[in-house]
């Protein structure tokens, strides 16, 4: 969409969906690279597969809805949705889960609600939640972080696992996979182990999970670049990370043996990815500046609640979807005052 600008010497950047989405993709690159470094070729295969499925489903739905295909395909929104889905799933997820999740995300969560700009829920997160709920076993198959210099599986082995479900000879799933740091903490605390003992075990690094802390740092870097480019605003990430930091800090101070420290929370799982790339979704998130702050804070609180007391070890997707439901209400009560108008509720007396 282009708006004409009149009078005054403005320097206005051309803001199209395509441009914004392209910059979001650039912002995702460091985090994606970090994930590929630690988890191997599977991450890149998943990204390619998910993007291909997203584009195919988008084209199909546009044709079914008799909408022009070219402008909507080239706006890259489907690419971003597929990419985000691929970053959320384990690196060796079988291909059919990606197919089901992304196709559901694009067909049901996006196009049945009216397409780009009308979806009340974040499509990528809907796809992820559908996959997590429907295929709980396959969606926990995370592998311990290695490095791409010395990957756990070669490229062809990765393809074999993802597309044919065949592990290299002599290996079993139990030997290959390991719990993520968040999983480890949740199950360890459930067994009554003290937190210090859990943290001494293998999957942990300096502040959070080994590998995971660097991945989150890379997503943070990409997110800060997006902020710098003014593709996103600061309110939603600040709200989410701030709320997560405050609430987890509070509980950590009260009982350090039962609650991980706030830095661990910020650099674990999908915290940074969620804060900068998912909670900032302009369509399904809140639209007003104050609203975004509240929206982000809600996501942060829910993430802590789900991580601490929920059935799932990571809760970013559920938190975002729950707050998506609240977004219209938040918007209604946080509309900025128009200059010269009284605030809401004072009009009658005025």
């Amino acid at each position: 969409m282009r708006f004409k600008t009149f009078t005054s010497p403005h320097m206005s950047p051309v803001r199209s969906v395509h441009r914004v989405m392209r910059q979001v993709l650039y912002g995702l690159l460091p985090g994606t690279a970090a994930m590929a470094w630690f988890f191997g070729w599977g991450v890149l295969v998943n990204v390619l597969l998910a993007v291909a499925v997203a584009l195919a489903t988008e084209t199909l739905m546009l044709l079914l809805r008799r909408r022009p295909v070219r402008p909507f395909i080239t706006d890259l929104s489907a690419v971003v949705a597929g990419w985000l889905f691929a970053l959320a799933i384990p690196p060796l997820t079988p291909w059919w889960i990606t197919l089901v999740g992304v196709a559901f995300a694009m067909a049901v969560a996006k196009h049945l609600y009216g397409g780009l700009g009308y979806n009340p829920f974040n499509p990528a997160m809907i796809g992820y939640v559908v996959a997590v709920i429907s295929f709980p076993r396959e969606m926990t198959l995370w592998i311990p972080p290695g490095t791409l210099a010395d990957p756990a599986f070669t490229f062809s082995e990765t393809l074999g696992i993802i597309f044919q479900g065949q592990l290299p000879a002599g290996l079993t799933w139990d030997a290959v996979t390991s719990a993520t740091p968040l999983d480890r903490i949740q199950s360890g605390l459930g067994l009554g182990q003290p937190l210090g003992e859990i943290r001494d075990s293998s999957p942990f690094g300096f502040v959070a999970g080994r590998g995971w802390e660097w991945i989150n740092l890379a997503f943070l870097a990409g997110g800060l670049w997006l902020l710098h480019r003014r593709v996103i605003t600061w309110q939603a990430p600040a709200g989410m990370l701030g709320a997560l930091f405050l609430i987890s800090g509070l509980f950590w101070l009260m009982d350090p043996a039962a609650y991980p420290d706030p830095l661990f929370q910020l650099f674990s799982g999908a915290a940074m990815l969620g804060a900068f790339f998912i909670a900032t979704d302009p369509v399904s998130g809140s639209a007003t500046p104050r609203g975004r702050l509240i929206f982000g804070a809600g996501v942060g609180l829910l993430v802590f609640v789900i991580r601490s007391w929920g059935a799932y070890a990571e809760g970013v997707a559920f938190a975002v979807l729950l707050m998506n439901m609240m977004a219209p209400t938040i918007d209604q009560y946080t509309q900025p005052r128009v200059f010269g108008q009284r605030a809401r509720g004072q009009e009658d007396r005025g």
Binding site: V100, I133, S134, P136
Partner: protein, 229 residues
């Protein structure tokens, strides 16, 4: 009463005023029990039976019940009918009864039933009330079974699983396995699958209606043009 009006009652029950697809009544059992075809069929037939008994009784006493107390009277009738059906199911289809659980006694609160008593049976003769009960009940059952089939096929890859609960041991072979080694799609089995499935069925019905209407409109214009030529 002409056969034409009976046909209208039947068409209303199955399509134009279907309790599941148009009135959207009785959604609680519709969404909760439509996990498999057999469960859906069991609950649908129990609901139909309740509807027949309650519609007949309400229609029979419609001239003696004072309007001020009609709702409590209907509730009493429906509750006693459901209690009888619950006991009967417990006796003859015990395993199915255990699966359907709380949803058998909850037929009492199915608004479709008291809705038909109030909207139809209390104003119509007994034969008409009977036809209405059968049409509405079987229409509701049809939606339940369609949704149950959709969810069972997607969720477990089978159809008519556990058919012996309803039809006895002879029916064990009735189970169709659509996909061998199906890994299961839990979303369809869980409650969200019911909501999404019902939404898709509603969309399908609306699409069919729209298509029929467009065809009827085309035929009307064709007939209107014909005499002039």
């Amino acid at each position: 009463m002409s056969t034409r009006s009976y046909r209208r009652i039947v068409a209303d029950g199955f399509w134009y005023n279907n309790p599941g697809l148009v009135q959207l009544l009785g959604l609680c059992p519709l969404l909760a029990i439509s996990g498999t075809v057999v469960n859906a069929l069991g609950l649908g037939l129990a609901t139909t039976l309740t509807l027949v008994a309650s519609n007949l009784s309400v229609s029979a006493i419609r001239n003696w019940v004072r309007p001020e107390i009609r709702i409590p009277v209907y509730v009493l009738i429906i509750a006693s009918v459901v209690t009888a059906i619950e006991l009967a199911m417990n006796a003859y289809f015990h395993e199915l009864y255990l699966i359907l659980g709380i949803f058998i006694p909850l037929i009492v609160t199915n608004c479709a039933i008291i809705g038909r008593a109030e909207a139809f049976a209390s104003k119509n003769s007994m034969p008409r009330a009977l036809v209405d009960a059968l049409a509405m009940g079987l229409g509701f059952t049809a939606v339940l079974v369609a949704l149950g089939g959709l969810r069972e096929a997607l969720g477990q890859g089978t159809l008519f699983a556990q058919a012996h609960l309803m039809f006895g041991d002879m029916a064990r072979g009735l189970t169709l396995t659509l996909v061998e080694d199906y890994r299961g799609f839990l979303l369809a089995v869980l409650p969200p699958g019911a909501f999404i499935g019902l939404g898709l069925l509603l969309a399908l019905k609306n699409a069919v209606d729209e298509h029929l209407e467009r065809r009827a409109a085309r035929r009307r214009t064709a007939m209107a043009e014909q005499p002039q030529t």
